[in-house]
Symmetry: C2
Subunit: 269 residues, 2 copies
Amino acid sequence: MRRVRIDLAYDGTDFAGWQLQARGRTIQGTVEEALSRLDGARLVRVHAAGRTDAGVHARGQVAHADVRTARGDAELGYALHRLLPPDVRPLALRTVRADFDARRDALGKCYVYRLDLSRYGDPLLRRYALHCARPLDLEAVSAALRLLPGRRDWSGFAAAGCAVSDRVRELRVAELVRRGLDEALFRFAADGFLTHMVRNLVGTLLEIGRGRLAVQRVHEILASGDRRLAGPTAPARGLCLERVAYADENEEVTEDGSGLGDGGRGLRR
Amino acid sequence: MRRVRIDLAYDGTDFAGWQLQARGRTIQGTVEEALSRLDGARLVRVHAAGRTDAGVHARGQVAHADVRTARGDAELGYALHRLLPPDVRPLALRTVRADFDARRDALGKCYVYRLDLSRYGDPLLRRYALHCARPLDLEAVSAALRLLPGRRDWSGFAAAGCAVSDRVRELRVAELVRRGLDEALFRFAADGFLTHMVRNLVGTLLEIGRGRLAVQRVHEILASGDRRLAGPTAPARGLCLERVAYADENEEVTEDGSGLGDGGRGLRR
């Protein structure tokens, strides 16, 4: 028996999210089924760093699993690649220390939320970006983004049903990156995120960009922790788990020392 | 009655190509149906600059149609945007001179073919790029690309069923552009293309990149006009009609004077 770390990318469009469910196609279920077939029909449990919601994509999800197979890492990775459907791809597979835990050992995560700013919406982006038909006041959005980084209680941006009691997280990066005339990306990096936190941040920032909420509202949401003051939850399809960072990797450290520099990955496309 | 020019983008994945067919969802049929509804249920014919194959995408297809509606261009464009499905998007709609012909007046076209060079294939690119699992010899591909530009007979790269008798075309641009570590784009600009010409060029270039054909083979195909010497037709999904150029536009002229400079469009994403 050995523990393997599996890095995964997936198109979340046709999945009911990461987590195994009684009904519905899930990423966890799909990966477990493939890995179980490769491990002598034994049930292999797969644990992810972040349980992404239905419709959310990943380009750098990390998971761990215990396997008995005699196959080496390269062979197992290749066999997994052959068995998985085209919307879930293994990026890497390697044996790690037996106590590696993809979720607990994660030092931080980076999410990207993609906006299609073209007039009528780019059909090639429709599964992976939110189309914002009307012009956004990007100055106001940037001003609001500057208020966000820091170690604080994020209750005001957590889902109503968020079961976690400690809602203090350190947001290290909150930025908007333009890509050409018709695209923009929100990037958020933190030591952890609450349920729906990124989508609630984006929903609020878009309301600010549309002039429906004032930049100041961010202060009020943070101070009060009142979810009702924030904007709606932005649709899942624009969101992508870009990267999970661990201590024992040879991380490129960003200028702010966050250790979540994406080495160009977040901006590759 | 007036003639309108409609610029279109589409995700070709779920279409049986541009051209109307007895069976199967087509882009022409979809646009004609929407435009007919907006023009008093009168049948409106829509003519495209290039009749893209099943599965081929477009980010800059151009079409023309004659309409009777009293709606102005902006209103008609917006109404069309509301009626069309999310995988076909109007980019612009404007009244043009009555004898404008999207196909005959086109001075040139630019196609892009996208390659996913990542190890296991990026699930977010699978509808829009061809995954090349094994490393390609990009030096050899570039050497072969340099042999292509010029005014010549392209019979060796035309589909077996190509019905056109004059197969002389001027290929103005043939290049490979790297994008990050895991992506590359072929770009081809010409005054016109024969059936399957881009996909046959790409199929041959990939065989050269895999070491299965010599760079010299390009000379032999061009000299003999023998399709059997070329590589297989590359899959449709990587191909995108990026732009159609007309004389009466205020074109940005590229350094080589081709008039097919893409103003950053081909490289925006």
